[in-house]
Symmetry: D3
Subunit: 185 residues, 6 copies
């Protein structure tokens, strides 16, 4: 039996963390000896929550997992970051066929760059397969959104969303997106 520790990196934007992410973190914490949840910072991309806010939210929601740490990285490829952290694994979620195509490409390109790091995948359960950060953000606004999002994000994230949009959206005179994404547009 191997004695070395199995360490993995689970990276993303986490803008904000969702219950879909929580599934990954929970299972990743069981599957690996150490799990680094890392925010990949993309300076060219606008985010709803600042890096600092997202780090705080991730720390809040991972508090109970002894072997999970929270971090961030920028100006590095994920595969290089993982290797540098001494992680032999990258953990990724696949929610649907479109995710799968992207993940297969990245897994191949990453293995070309560093064949010592293996990408391991989990598929979230049915309800969570539909929950992404952008899906959640797209639901903010219309009447009832506060209630609607309750099961899609962990409690600290729910509070952060309420605070961020306080007085802005979803009140009695709210104006908001009727639907996340609209493929007929």
């Amino acid at each position: 039996m191997p004695t070395r520790k199995r360490k993995a990196v689970y990276a993303g934007s986490f803008d904000p963390p969702t219950e879909g992410h929580m599934y990954m973190i929970r299972e990743g914490s069981f599957l690996f000896d150490e799990l680094v949840v890392a925010i990949g910072v993309n300076p060219d991309k606008r985010s709803l929550f600042t890096l600092e806010e997202r780090l705080q939210l991730l720390r809040a929601v991972t508090r109970d997992f002894q072997n999970v740490s929270v971090s961030s990285f920028e100006a590095r490829y994920l595969i290089d970051y993982a290797a540098r952290e001494g992680a032999r694994y990258i953990l990724r979620g696949i929610r649907n066929a479109s995710d799968f195509h992207y993940e297969q490409t990245m897994r191949n390109v990453n293995a070309d760059r560093n064949s010592n790091v293996t990408t391991v995948f989990l598929v979230p359960p049915r309800e969570l397969a539909e929950v992404s950060s952008s899906f959640v953000k797209g639901l903010v606004g219309p009447r009832g959104w506060k209630d609607f999002l309750k099961n899609m994000v962990p409690a600290p994230v729910h509070e952060a969303l309420l605070k961020k949009f306080a007085g802005q959206k979803g009140g009695d005179d709210a104006e908001g997106a009727p639907e996340p994404g609209d493929p007929e547009g």
Copy 2:
């Protein structure tokens, strides 16, 4: 045999209405006792036609359907809007596999929120499967676009497009998009 009326909402951006939408409206008018064609207003999204213009276009193209009315809504989820209108059905079109994935997600999320409203789907015929509002808008510009779009949008929309781009695009000195969307970009 049930005596209650079957009412449905067919919502979208309709920016602008296309022959694809007309197929849905025509069939929806037959399938249901009442059909509400409703523009979902998304204040964060820029549109080519104003809400007022789109309402007028929809009214013009649905004039001959006795049981079809035109409306708009904002700051509400489609599922809530449908329920509030007393509609037991949401009508949606599926043109391709990518549409299908999105529609399946929305159908599930909506049923979680209100299980009394059922989503009913139609699949447009071959030629119309390729016609969406954004596809149509992407074709505006290059020489010959006026003619090219003729079979893709109803006459009032065609006129509205000509007026909107008069003197701007597609003249002898026109500059425009060579192709809608470019996956190689």
Copy 3:
């Protein structure tokens, strides 16, 4: 408002009827004034249950739906059968992207043959999206199958399966298929 009745045909092999079929029948019974649930007989294809058994099962599980009748047809295309029955609609379910491709093809070919009959689609909820007759049959055998299938088929079908496989499979010395379908084979 139209006064004519809306009649639809929902056809399949129903070998045996599943909870996925029940969703379609229940919703079809609401959506249409009359729904004919029809077994399409394919003499070249072996079935687990005989035509007579399947008719009896369908009658048992549709007993409570006033506007649903059960029938069968052979030596006719579904589209021709529907037209002959005076049905303006064919009702079909789409469970996944692979279903969608097949259904889109059939919808197009059928519309070419008879443009007066429209195909209407429903997408079953998450759990039922996975339940098909062949999936259910593939699960018969291993220890615990009787219990496993309970939520996948209506009670009369469950009993019929138990009777059909009595003493044969799933007993203490059972031998059976470990898994339905095996894409690695």
Copy 4:
């Protein structure tokens, strides 16, 4: 400008040839200097038409194409057959996403084996995208099939099908498959 001839092989079962195949042959005849239409014989697979019948049908339907020849091969991989015939190209059709996945795999495996032979693809027009040999065969039987198939296969194939099923199917007392393929089975 190159002076050498461009030769291609278009292989398949052609059991029987369809209008989908005719599109490929017609375009292939224009695109290449020489096109070999070749039946790949698979002794383990039962066919409706014998090899000799299929060769005769292919010869009949390609009569007007000066640079098209008809042949067959067995006990060889297509890529090896093409190379042996001095063909630098394999011609293949892609009708849908499922075809695409298979063709991409074969193209890669073939290029591994012989990088001097390039696979070139055509996508048939909308109506023909739905027509395959097995689709056509699945439609034989129900009342009206003779008429239904008329636009899907070239005339000599239509006659051959009528002769093959004379007195057997599609008469007034016909029994037949109601639908090709049934994903709900």
Copy 5:
């Protein structure tokens, strides 16, 4: 850090084991403390190699992996077998989008049955994504197959294939399948 052992089951038909399977076993051996490679016996399905032959082949190709054992099971669902073996994990490979759809379904159905067992996925590298047991078997026959398969299966499997088809296929007078699968049939 958890002290309990992580045990996984990697099940399949392994008829025969391929280099695709070897990738899974190698990575699974690193990722888990214990890996059981288990042949799921399906008495209704014909196999090329007998159960005993497949067990021997698996033992031969896993000889060097200290924490890998080989086994078989029948008359049980994989999820039940895994639980009974004390495995908290099922290991599965996803080669393409079609695999993904099947695996997502099974993962969901299995989690419904036993939420204590988690399915973990790996995606094989580019070349192996195309290699399955049935693909390999489909390539047997035409001239050159012995050479062609060399990189697709481990050496003991290659020898076993040669022995099984000795004098039968691929000799100078061989007759064989020209191509694995033929979507145009």
Copy 6:
């Protein structure tokens, strides 16, 4: 045998040209008597390289192909441009299923507009299937990007990228995108 020349247009944004484009150009140069590589100018879309820069890069990388010329067009549809250039063919690449759906739509719409121009497709080999202009641009930034991109673009493009981002990205204090695209956003 036909004596007329076969001329094709291969159009795109080429912002910048990649090794994926090079595969298409190389094969297109063999397959056709004349190949026009044409930049479709879209004035509404921002590009990394100016039109003039892209023309220069394309000229540099196609220098060795005698029958390949470089050009650009705007205010015209690709199909009209091809016809006007006297090209009977449009050459397109398909890298994955998502590409395929788009290409099938465009091929149909183009054939509706001008049935004399046929679209011919090539599928790039495994490694290149993942390389697009936007993928390449998304990789610019993090440490090591200069090296990482070396096999993805031809040498003149590599130099042009280095020059464009000199002092800006990828230095020791670089800040950059950790990953191209992020489906979890």
